[in-house]
């Protein structure tokens, strides 16, 4: 199903005819699964109590339209059930067709547009120079049918994505490339990558930024599996179960302890669900160097590929959870402008650059995505225990609030970024490029006032990384503000984009009026 590559001239085009069906795929599967289970039930019942069904049909298995099945009615009136099924399928087909007829998209005039809906019309548009990333996503069903979904992400939070689901794989890939090419080109006009790019490479300006990518590393699924299990929640649960079993041995509390174990079941299911989701999201993880960006491919069932342009990276976090310390593993996450990241689910997957890796892996990734921060600085940031000459940190006044980590918590400046570190058990190092700081905040709670401390927030664009430096001496916090503000000023001046003719920006990147929830306006009281 290789349809013609979309032309930049901008003809309205349709999605793949099967797409509405596929979008409702989960529901359909659920209905089919339910029907099948009912059929199975009836079958089992008829084996057990065969005489109940003798009157209807003779053979209990002979119920081809088991889809109806609530339940004896359908058994007694097979034709009615069949008719119901036909009408049901017909309705699905009709809705499918209408939905397909009314879904159209086009690329042209400097933007991507998508129109959807027969009754409730929706028109969403994303300007090409605002495109942050274009990714392909392939859920299991779509993969089986050779289809893919194209997700166009733009600046402006989780709701500003434009999703084209579904297109044939070839068409989707060529569209993605086409969009990236257009976006990349306009982007170069707009931001001047060599300058706007404080963390990124200084002198990389390949002729075609989205050229073929070079594999950098992959995460073995076995390691990911172990790492997924090594999580606070699973360990706490395991400890509880062990205590429960031990307690069962003690006569006095035995019954109580045993009764407690089933009570943990909902919690256990929740944890298992969460862990499995993590595994599904980050399975088959591959990272590749795409010149001016990194290409992430991941997903155990729903395989997704995203390219994150380096200059869209707003903050980086290298973290080693306590449970990973014995095995020496690390995780790297980033804030990317426009990849949402407010919600856990969707944002998380596009912002993890290393779900789990050794220190060497982490260094490789960091060298790739943040060449502005020297490797030695990262090492001190994540491993240093305090007393490092270039780091400034908390004083003994913070000892009561951070008894374990007060020697370690602190910050330093590298050439192009501010580097924070905190946590003694779970060790965290965060880098925010000076040119990406949105604002700076100093807060002081009541207890901090008493102790003469204050907390500093370096605010980048939203994402999973939130750089906070807690409990500094007040004068130190104010000094931090002055120092980092000055560096941010210099960096902004350097990165000021030569304003392309697109100024001034129109109010919306996306047609917000159609999407009242999640718009910037939702912030207002």
């Amino acid at each position: 199903m290789s349809e013609p590559v979309p032309e930049p001239s901008g003809e309205w085009q349709r999605l793949h005819p099967l797409s509405p069906l596929l979008r409702g795929g989960v529901v359909l599967l659920a209905i089919l699964g339910y029907a099948a289970s009912q059929l199975f039930d009836t079958f089992l019942n008829s084996l057990g109590f065969g005489d109940l069904f003798v009157g209807t049909d003779g053979s209990p298995i002979d119920e081809p339209d088991g889809g109806g099945d609530p339940f004896t009615t359908a058994v007694h009136h097979p034709f009615l059930a069949l008719a119901g099924l036909v009408v049901f399928l017909g309705l699905i087909a009709l809705v499918n067709w209408v939905s397909w007829r009314f879904s159209r998209f086009r690329v042209g005039g400097g933007q991507v547009e998508l129109r959807q809906g027969a009754l409730f019309r929706q028109h969403r548009q994303v300007r090409l120079e605002r495109v942050q990333a274009v990714e392909l996503s392939r859920p299991l069903l779509a993969r089986a049918l050779g289809l893919a979904r194209v997700v166009v992400q733009s600046a402006g939070g989780s709701d500003s994505t434009l999703t084209l689901s579904f297109l044939g794989l070839d068409r989707a890939e060529s569209l993605r490339e086409h969009l990236l090419e257009l976006a990349g080109r306009t982007d170069e006009v707009a931001t001047h990558p060599a300058e706007g790019n404080a963390v990124g490479p200084d002198d990389v300006a390949p002729p075609h930024p989205w050229a073929a990518s070079q594999p950098v590393l992959e995460v073995p699924n076995g390691r990911l599996f172990v790492a997924t299990i090594l999580h606070g929640s699973t360990i706490a649960l395991g400890a509880l179960v062990v205590f429960g079993l031990l307690g069962a041995g003690v006569r006095s509390v035995g019954p109580l302890a045993l009764a407690g174990i089933p009570a943990l079941l909902p919690v256990a299911i929740g944890i298992a669900f969460n862990r499995v989701k993590e595994l599904l999201t980050h399975g088959n993880f591959h990272l590749a160097d795409a010149g001016s960006g990194v290409r992430v491919q991941e997903g155990l069932t729903d395989l997704r590929a995203t390219t994150i342009p380096l200059h869209r990276i707003q903050a980086l976090e290298l973290v080693q959870p306590l449970w990973w310390r014995p095995v020496g593993w690390y995780r790297i996450r980033v804030n990317v402008a426009g990849s949402g990241g407010m919600g856990e689910g969707e944002g998380q997957r596009e912002t993890t650059l290393l779900p789990v890796g050794t220190l060497a892996d982490a260094r490789t990734v960091l060298a790739l995505v943040a060449p502005g921060v020297p490797a030695a600085a990262w090492d001190t940031a994540v491993l240093g225990g305090g007393g490092d000459p270039t780091w400034r940190g908390q004083t003994t006044a913070a000892r009561w609030l951070d008894p374990l980590s007060w020697r370690r918590n602190g910050w330093t400046d590298v050439a192009s970024a501010v580097l924070l570190r905190h946590g003694r058990l779970t060790r965290r190092a965060i880098a925010v490029p000076h040119a990406r700081i949105q604002s700076l905040t100093v807060r002081q709670g009541w207890l901090e006032t008493r102790l003469g401390l204050a907390t500093v927030h370096v605010v980048p664009a939203p994402g999973p990384v939130s750089p906070v430096l807690a409990h500094l001496d007040v004068a130190h916090a104010e000094g931090f503000l002055a120092e980092v503000s000055e560096r941010a000023r210099t960096a902004r001046r350097r990165s000021e984009p030569p304003r392309a003719p697109l100024a001034p920006d129109p109010p919306g990147l996306v047609d917000w009026s159609r999407h009242p929830q999640g718009t910037p306006d939702a912030e207002r009281p």
Binding site: A155, G372, A435, S439, E478, A482, E483
Partner: protein, 172 residues
């Protein structure tokens, strides 16, 4: 790239959590009145209700009245303190807003990061000639709001911010 810079002394802090030499500007005292009126609108019906019930049914309810009065007085005092704690200053490249006494906060937003600026003013605030100026950046956490500016000043501030934002605009 170079090694981390040595920990040289920090540059002197101009922007401070308390006091300071900068020309910090207070907000309009009308904000206190507006907030007190809002408080009154919430509390008054409750007070009346407790008094009526107290006189008609049981005197014990009057204890509630007393508690309400005390809470009201405390909140009124708090409102005065809070409003007098709000101050702001426009620097060369940032606008800085300070708020709060018990829980202090200071937000420094570079003009170049402004996405848009809103002026908001409800009927009550309008009647008292004040408006609030809401500053939005690309990060929902990092905006600041500056309540209680005289309407003309809020408008002027908005156009100044917009002009500087355009002049100093930095890419995302």
């Amino acid at each position: 790239m170079a090694d981390p810079l040595p920990a040289t002394p920090l540059r002197p802090a101009e922007v401070t959590l308390r006091g300071g030499d900068l020309p910090w500007r207070p907000v309009s005292p009308a904000l206190t009145r507006v907030r007190l009126i809002s408080l009154g609108v919430v509390l008054a019906p409750l007070l009346v209700a407790t008094v009526v019930v107290g006189l008609l049914v049981t005197r014990w309810v009057l204890i509630g009245t007393l508690v309400l009065l005390l809470v009201g007085a405390w909140l009124a005092w708090l409102i005065g303190r809070q409003v007098s704690a709000i101050s702001w200053v426009e620097l060369d490249e940032e606008i800085v807003i300070r708020k709060g006494r018990l829980f202090r906060s200071l937000v420094s937003v570079p003009y170049g990061r402004l996405q848009y600026v809103d002026i908001q003013s409800g009927p009550l605030a309008r009647a008292h000639g004040i408006a609030s100026c809401e500053i939005h950046t690309a990060s929902p956490e990092s905006g600041g709001s500056l309540p209680g500016l005289p309407v003309a000043e809020a408008e002027a501030l908005r156009s100044r911010l917009a002009a500087r934002g355009e002049a100093q605009r930095a890419g995302l």
